[in-house]
């Protein structure tokens, strides 16, 4: 134990005597560890954020989208709602009404569509996403008007040209003016502003408040489509989603074929996105980990140089009683100290970088990634130290003493 402690002290002294060299040797490990930490933190942060956002949509929400959508990476559709393409639109208003009338497990049924449009008011205009939604949107989304009101069932049924603005849109077009009751233009149609929804914040880099809401019925006429893009159904509390799914399928299968539509729930969307992000994170971290191997080779290289440089010293140590084992341990400790010190600096830099990115990317440094980085750097130090340390341990003391 005493010997081990002395050997450890010795390694520190030796490394401090060669500060620049030690630091440069660490660099590979520092870069490797910090990028692994950073990438994992971005990956897991993004995953957590997106999952949170989707859960915010309501864990009891179901989406009915056209087409047989086997959930796999790359499936999905545009934006947050899968299957928003227009090519194979299948759903009709008749089916909407059937869902409302026959469904007993549904809290709310909404048609849902996404289109791009330009809104303009008093010379100012803004191109943005136009969401066609149901009148229940504020309750389902838990996002209520801060000014005016949302449209009601009657306005939806009649396909009235009424519009509710996101906070960003209201600020851009109206500034401090109260938009309620004003007329704005959307795709050559005049719309009456009913109200402004409260702020919901950014979803990644997408500003969720930079959109406008109109009845999905109105969206059909405005964007000239005779079908409903998708349904957004909220299940009643305490009813299993499978049961709700089954009921949706039962109702729609009267008029549609099995392959015509898919019912998705937030859980399955979340699992797909987590899967994709997880694979992506591991792939990126794996690429970054290559630099750890390069760093390890750097350590091995410098340790071999160090053994050669200190041949005479090793010979002397052996002459005064150092066993091959203790010489081996001395050099193993040196390489491990280099790589662990590099690892710790890398962890600090990676975590620091991740904190610095927090203002524009949702990053989170996980404990397991720090643990992983730390143990990987220990392993690298030992593995890449074995060859040089073994060489030092095997040196013949007489030849080593004579070495000039």
């Amino acid at each position: 134990m005493e010997k081990l402690f002395e050997t450890f002290k010795l390694a520190i002294i030796t490394l401090r005597a060669n500060k620049l060299r030690s630091l440069l040797t660490m660099l590979g490990i520092i870069i490797g560890v910090s990028s692994v930490i950073l990438l994992i933190s971005i990956g897991s942060g993004l995953k957590g954020y997106i999952t949170g956002q989707l859960q915010g949509l309501g864990s009891n929400s179901l989406y009915v989208v056209p087409g047989n959508l086997e959930l796999k990476p790359g499936g999905g559709g545009s934006g947050g709602t899968p299957g928003a393409g227009t090519a194979s639109l299948k759903f009709t208003l008749a089916q909407y009404h059937e869902l409302i009338q026959k469904g007993i497990t549904f809290q709310a049924v909404m048609g849902y569509s996404e289109n791009n449009g330009t809104v303009s008011y008093a010379g100012k205009s803004n191109t943005l996403q136009v969401a066609g939604v149901g009148y229940q949107y504020p309750e389902v989304r838990n996002q209520y008007p801060i000014q005016g009101t949302f449209f009601n069932a009657t306005q939806q049924e009649a396909g009235k040209k009424v519009i509710v603005l996101g906070k960003t849109v209201a600020d851009n077009l109206f500034g401090n003016e109260d938009p309620t009751g004003k007329k704005i233009t959307l795709s050559d149609n005049k719309f009456t502003v009913l109200g402004v929804l409260e702020k919901k914040g950014a979803f990644g880099s997408v500003d969720m408040d930079n959109q406008v809401f109109i009845p999905f019925t109105t969206a059909m006429t405005t964007f000239d489509v005779d079908r409903v893009q998708s349904f957004w159904i909220q299940a009643k509390d305490n009813i299993p989603l499978d049961q709700v799914k089954a009921e949706i399928k039962k109702i729609l299968l009267r008029t549609l074929k099995q392959d015509d539509f898919s019912v998705l729930d937030t859980g399955s969307i979340i699992s797909v996105i987590s899967q994709v992000l997880g694979v992506l994170t591991i792939a990126l971290a794996g690429i970054a980990a290559i630099s750890l191997i390069v760093g390890g080779i750097g350590i091995m290289n410098i340790m071999l140089v160090s053994v050669t440089e200190r041949t005479k010293e090793i010979g002397l140590r052996k002459a005064v009683g150092a066993t091959p084992k203790i010489i081996m341990i001395q050099f193993l400790i040196e390489s491990t100290v280099i790589s662990v010190a590099g690892g710790i600096i890398g962890i600090i830099l990676g975590a620091g970088g991740s904190l610095a990115m927090k203002s524009f990317l949702p990053t989170s440094v996980s404990f397991w990634s720090i643990l992983l980085a730390f143990s990987v750097s220990v392993i690298i130090g030992v593995v890449f130290g074995v060859l040089p340390a073994g060489r030092a341990a095997r040196l013949n003391p007489i030849q080593a003493l004579r070495y000039e």
Partner: protein, 229 residues
């Protein structure tokens, strides 16, 4: 049957020791049939021209090397077949080396250099430092203990090296041309130290080709072409 007096028992005995090196598939015999006894309190000088095998003999006596034939008996124990680890332990506890080129570890204080063998012996830090300081003080090096080798004169460096050899209280001290890198005046001082150490009861084996130094020895072994002459 008379029991031999303990002090007259050989510490180290070489029986018909030979050493052969193989260089380019040719056998090169460095030592042949060496018989030698070292008793406690001996002051033996080994002389011989370069290439005569005196350094190899020293290395074998100091357990740095093993013979290819014959036996090396160290305190009634045959050490000629021991493993490297076991040899290291004997060197650590029974042998003190002094080299021509001092062989102090650079960027390490005089004190730390002297403490080195004690570290490998597993002596706790406080005791180690006390022992090393005591030996250094004995050679008038107290003001120099925190100096690095490159801040010391040749004579001082060799005295630090002698301190390092002595600090474990070895059975024998082996010095390989300890004055070879020193001017004659400093060399004399170092030889004086070895004489004093011998008077104090230490067993010393010294390799040199300086006849004046050999004059101080109790016993001179001349070696030529690997044989004692």
């Amino acid at each position: 049957m008379s029991v031999p007096k303990l002090s007259k028992m050989p510490i180290l005995e070489l029986q018909n020791v030979g050493k052969t090196y193989q260089i380019d598939s040719q056998n090169l015999q460095i030592l042949k049939g060496i018989n030698l006894e070292v008793k406690k309190g001996d002051f033996i000088v080994i002389m011989g021209p370069s290439g005569s095998g005196k350094s190899t003999l020293m290395n074998i006596m100091g357990c740095l090397d093993t013979p290819t034939s014959g036996k090396v008996i160290f305190e009634n124990r045959d050490v000629s077949k021991l493993s490297e680890t076991e040899l290291a332990q004997i060197r650590n506890q029974k042998v003190g080396f002094v080299f021509q080129t001092f062989n102090l570890i650079p960027r390490t204080t005089a004190l730390a250099n002297v403490e080195l063998p004690l570290i490998y012996k597993g002596i706790p830090a406080a005791e180690r430092t006390a022992l090393a300081k005591k030996v250094l003080e004995q050679f008038g090096l107290s003001p120099r203990i925190f100096h690095f080798p490159n801040q010391l004169s040749g004579g001082e460096q060799q005295r630090v090296a002698i301190s390092r050899a002595l600090v474990t209280q070895p059975l024998i001290i082996l010095a390989d041309e300890p004055t070879g890198n020193l001017d004659s005046k400093t060399g004399e001082e170092i030889i004086k130290i070895f004489q004093d150490l011998n008077k104090a009861g230490n067993t010393i084996i010294l390799v040199t080709h300086d006849k004046d130094i050999a004059a101080h020895a109790k016993k001179i072994i001349k070696i030529h072409d690997g044989e004692i002459v």
